[in-house]
Symmetry: D2
Subunit: 305 residues, 4 copies
């Protein structure tokens, strides 16, 4: 298949959509982004990659970081993790407190905010003040790229306006599902969200999830095949908040979106992908990114179903 040609076609077809959508505006730092950007990268097992658009522009990975921190926590805690976090679709918005109140502070899954905050708390239990360093190290390792860093301005800005997440963490602490200082845990979480990467780096970073936990380029094993399967299943059922069913339905690949406009996805056994475009649909997922991935699976016939 001529992937480069397919990417070219996709770029042309998504152009008319730039009129819809809305850039995340809950913090000043994200609001100022040029909305009409687009990038898409495919990473194959043999090291080949295909790219189109602003593939060198770094953006805030935001909730895509949840995949990395959950991978680390799953590796540290195994099945014990499920006392603290469920693995069911929530049926609610990414920042809902309703479910937490009805279910005693146990988040439905690790890919909604509450779940990622619990994940962060579990990493802080283990790594204390070195948590962020460890997370960064892990992302650099799976990306095979030592240059990755975070945007301090965004992290600070997130905390400054992070009332909803502070509500979530305090709610969970009231149910004894957070062990460390609430504000500290949320700030750690915001640092993870503020990591800056481009689509090249992100597509490379999750290649191991497309290959049973083993990086097919370096042959390093990061997690077990069973763990990779579980993370992929979680991305499919819970990767796009209350639009996860829609993403599975239209795209048909395990994926994870972030409000920075990025979406990562894997075709198990074949490749990993990343698409980026900052305008979001009503559910908080990249509008053009979702469309681009749908075009990709339609054009290539690649889908897990």
């Amino acid at each position: 298949m001529d992937y480069q040609e397919i990417l070219t076609q996709i770029k042309l077809e998504i152009l008319p959509l730039f009129k819809e959508g809305k850039v995340a505006d809950y913090i000043p730092a994200l609001k100022e982004i040029d909305p009409k950007q687009f990038a898409m990268s495919l990473q194959l097992f043999d090291g080949t990659s295909y790219n189109i658009g602003d593939v060198d522009t770094k953006f805030s990975i935001q909730s895509i970081s949840k995949v990395f921190t959950f991978t680390m926590a799953l590796d540290l805690y195994g099945e014990n993790l499920y006392k603290n976090i469920g693995h069911e679709p929530s049926g609610n918005a990414f920042n809902s407190l309703v479910q937490l109140e009805y279910e005693n502070g146990i988040p439905r899954n690790p890919f909604i905010n509450a779940g990622a905050i619990v994940t962060t708390d579990l990493l802080v239990n283990k790594y204390k003040d070195k948590t962020f360093k460890k997370v960064l190290k892990f992302i650099r390792k799976v990306s095979d790229d030592q240059s990755i860093y975070y945007d301090k301005e965004i992290a600070k800005s997130e905390l400054q306006y992070g009332y909803r997440n502070l509500a979530l963490v305090n709610m969970m602490k009231s149910f004894d599902n957070i062990q460390n200082d609430a504000t500290k845990v949320v700030y750690e979480y915001f640092k993870h969200c503020s990591i800056s990467m481009n689509t090249r780096q992100l597509s490379r970073s999750i290649l191991f999830l497309a290959n049973h936990g083993i990086d097919p380029i370096t042959n390093k094993q990061f997690i077990t095949p069973s763990q990779a399967k579980r993370i992929n299943s979680l991305m499919l059922t819970c990767g796009h908040y209350d639009a996860s069913g829609d993403f599975a339905f239209h795209v048909g690949l395990p994926g994870k979106s972030g409000v920075g406009g990025g979406i990562v996805a894997v075709v198990p056994g074949v490749m990993s992908l990343c698409v980026w475009s900052p305008q979001l649909n009503k559910k908080g997922n990249s509008l053009i990114g979702t469309k681009a991935l749908e075009l990709f699976t339609t054009k290539t016939g690649l889908s897990i179903f």
Copy 2:
């Protein structure tokens, strides 16, 4: 009517109930209280008062403070208050976040925690760092007692374990329904809750609500008749969280309870009352206090209905 004789009968009849109920244990300072205490005070318009039990023992007024801060806020803001706080029964527990999420951060009424926190925020808007001083001054004024103060240990302890209230305040701040620093507002709120009073003082303090806003002993007017009517109606429909209907049903008087075990009530045109006993029922209201008030209205036939 021989009120003293009625109080004596009530005390005898509530004795067997001390086996049920459970003292509030969410902070150490409250947990240590001797559970088998009981006091009841009636305050008449002519200055006469009737008392029984541990009427000089001070306890944490907790949510009874909501009546005082709401009275102050109603006087300051009038009808404008209703942009920030509703006046409907919530149908949920006193610290529920569910309703806040569905209703955009506007608490249902000023007598659930979220509502009292918004009330406090509105007082901080006006009085800044002098808020607590002003609240204390108001309570001393309506009680005609300059000795009233708060328990610093309890206030600190409340903050230390106050995760649920921190969740509430941050949730409302995310909806722009809190103007000041979230933690500061909650700490102010906890100071109000930590004010210590006995049943003599509390029954005296709300006498003005039984008399159209005018203290019948000193003839000072604190609020308008219309405001007094509204506060009383709120106490009737919302004064006991999700047991408000039950209280109206069995007692039939406007009242407000606190987890410290106190309950104040008014018989419009006749008297004000306070009862105290630290053991709580499942809804968080004084078990013996509620029963004592029910016995009182049954024996005297005093009820608004």
Copy 3:
């Protein structure tokens, strides 16, 4: 007090409000009513009554019937009633199923639809096929008027469009809180709702609730003082669905509204009232009727608070 003069003033003051509000349109029979009608009747203990407006026009009493059927059920079952129906404000709309699902099919109170349907089921348990006859007999007795009847067209029309109530009754039956045939019970309930009365008759019919259960004109005792107190407290906390707090706040009297545009209320120890105007506010209560009652308590100073 010159009540007739007060009624005249009220009528003048409510005229400008006829532009707002919306007649109930869920069934054709109600939709066709002339929206600009208004009537108000006061019934005093000595038999005197004051009336203004269309006081001889009969309308569908709708949910006001819930007061009569609950009174009958309370008299039959006493405290046993509370296994089947609660007595707390629901915090939800009058026809919500959410609370029923969370609380195992036990309605919050007898004045929301689900509660009145359970009440009807309990009457059917006792009176079988004679239930409607018994209800009609009871209403005729308390109204001292043998001419009261129901509108068959409306009852049939209610059933034809009564999907939401059929959902409620089946939901409760799935929780074993309905003993008789679901559709039969709902049809009985609709017949109660379709009883036609005017404001003269309705104000007369609830006079006993203003006087401890005894009709002060005929001296007949219909229920005990304690039962009357409980019904009044329920009208105050739950009589206007999720606008009950608002009604207590602005009017300050126990009352019950119906979507036909009628509202009954009592001033304990003084009088009973009925107001009617078919345009409804967003909560389903008569817009002009509510306003008229508020004007009445403001002008007369009559309120329970």
Copy 4:
């Protein structure tokens, strides 16, 4: 791979689990089933099948019928279907009314009861009195088996105790999301649920979903590849009610369960499967069936992830 050997191992390993679980008991006809039954069938593209256990015993397919009726409706209505039914996980129990009330009578997905009832209503719109005949014909066609029929006793029994589903259908009708007679639609739905099949037949019946909509044995095309992909994605995200995430997580295959104890699943491009064992877990899915499928994917490495 020696599939027969794998089935033999699975049967041995699931034996100790027969102590847990509970047969569906909401209707007498299901309650009487011998709980210790087990069957499993694999259907390959070349016509080979592997079977173990009670593979000739027919059972009530119950919610597995939702896959067939949704397939028919998708083929008839295409994207227009999504005005009436969503495609998101519900996050609630299979028979919840809460989501319906909050979302105006539009069910979250076609695999919860409300969704399948809407699907049935849409088929009745088209096929009128021939609906059941058409459904049966479709199932016989995809199963390549003319002997399939339904159990009239079970259908009647379902209707007799079907209060919850009658609540669902009336609720949706109150929101205009049901066009036909409510009881008639529910009875049609119950007939679909009461169709009797064994694991041989069921595994055969969904083979087309494992092969892009084409039966690989007869080469008949039943639906388009895109439709097959969408049905599979729905089975993955919504096929097991509020345990769908758990099934995806542990089994990793698109599947659909029924309270009769059956579960169908597909390995896209490889095979279709059916497992049956009547004891259910707390979420209403076959306890041993789920475990058997998990053992199957673990032993074979077959998974979509």
